[in-house]
Symmetry: C2
Subunit: 217 residues, 2 copies
């Protein structure tokens, strides 16, 4: 059966972005360091139209990020900045050929027509909530998995609603101290640790979601 998984880099203290996110620093102060493990990899560079790069224990993780799902859901912040509404020229952070190569559903309060990109990516804007976005993503994915790509605020809503099957965390060796925190507002969950993959400058940990063990505090 197809799964709903969340994948994201987080700091050792649990932040998926640092404080003071801005157009200049979309991942907040210090947040870029969460991706240090990834940006030098051949698999990453190829997906972004660049040559060269390293192959290491993180390579299959990046390949899975890029081809492992049939549809993606992301929060508005992850797609781009709003200034009282969408700037119609804004087409995401990733250039004309984003690394998704399939349907991407963007959660937002601001309606916008779908934005088709090169390489098969289409950004579709969903204004009626997380369950609707997931339903559309499931339909688009068919029998493939759905990836919730972040940010933390988005996945925390899905987690609190019990809609995530699996967490694929890439724990970076950095302490951000503030920012957007994974698991905020989520409590009393046991997880099942199903895979741990140590790699250069990162620990990849996969958890499956277990039952709710205690009421939210």
């Amino acid at each position: 059966m197809s799964k709903i998984w969340f994948t994201q880099s987080v700091s050792a203290d649990g932040y998926s972005a640092g404080p003071d996110q801005s157009e200049k620093e979309p991942l907040g102060v210090g947040g870029e360091s969460l991706h240090d493990w990834m940006v030098g990899l051949k698999a990453w560079r190829e997906a972004h139209g660049e040559e060269g790069g390293e192959v290491n224990a993180s390579t299959p993780v990046v390949e899975e990020l890029e081809t492992g799902s049939g549809a993606v859901v992301m929060g508005r912040n992850m797609f781009g900045p709003i200034r009282g509404g969408w700037d119609r020229d804004w087409r995401g952070w990733w250039g004309e050929d984003p690394p998704y190569h399939g349907p991407v559903f963007v959660l937002t309060h601001h309606p916008r027509d779908p934005v088709p990109m090169e390489g098969g990516t289409t950004f579709t804007f969903v204004t009626d909530g997380i369950e609707s976005a997931l339903k559309q993503a499931r339909a688009a994915a068919g029998d493939r998995d759905v990836a919730i790509a972040g940010g933390a605020a988005t996945v925390n809503q899905y987690l609190a609603a019990g809609l995530i099957d699996e967490l694929r965390l890439h724990v970076a060796p950095v302490v951000l101290g503030a920012g957007e925190r994974l698991f905020e507002g989520v409590s009393g969950r046991t997880l099942e640790q199903v895979a741990v993959r140590p790699a250069r400058r990162v620990t990849h940990v996969t958890y499956q979601l277990g039952e709710v063990t205690a009421p939210a505090v």
Copy 2:
């Protein structure tokens, strides 16, 4: 050269204890689950005078906990409850033969004479701050390492003061949602990931402390 290391079990969301710590639940609501990986191990049971138990990839971690340091520093909460002063009959949570087998320095505002226990453990109470406790522990340890045993509030003070060389975290597959959080008040640190050991119901991650990369936020 001897090192100062911190060792503790933490939840996937970074808590070393759950909310509402009490004498009945010293690790707070849900906090006991942080030690699920450990309590069934032969190495743990032997250190607590019990027979039987499992041997797995966590066994060397528990052995290192018990014999890897020449002296231990802990916060008051970790030693026991205060009710307007020490209850002179309180001799820790661990029975007459605690698993430390050496000098333990307890940070507290309430003076108390040292408490010698069976098996070589002596609890010494330090009322003049974290640096004094560390200095006494270093002197007692000689050329061996000093372990900061927790809780999070204690190690966070040492981290903020730049006095820790190494973090040995045992990340348990549970989300506590509230409680005492590691790295609270610490920010802008890069860590060096020096060892990752997956084991049953836990991921052991060792970080060395790097330079301060950003001001505290």
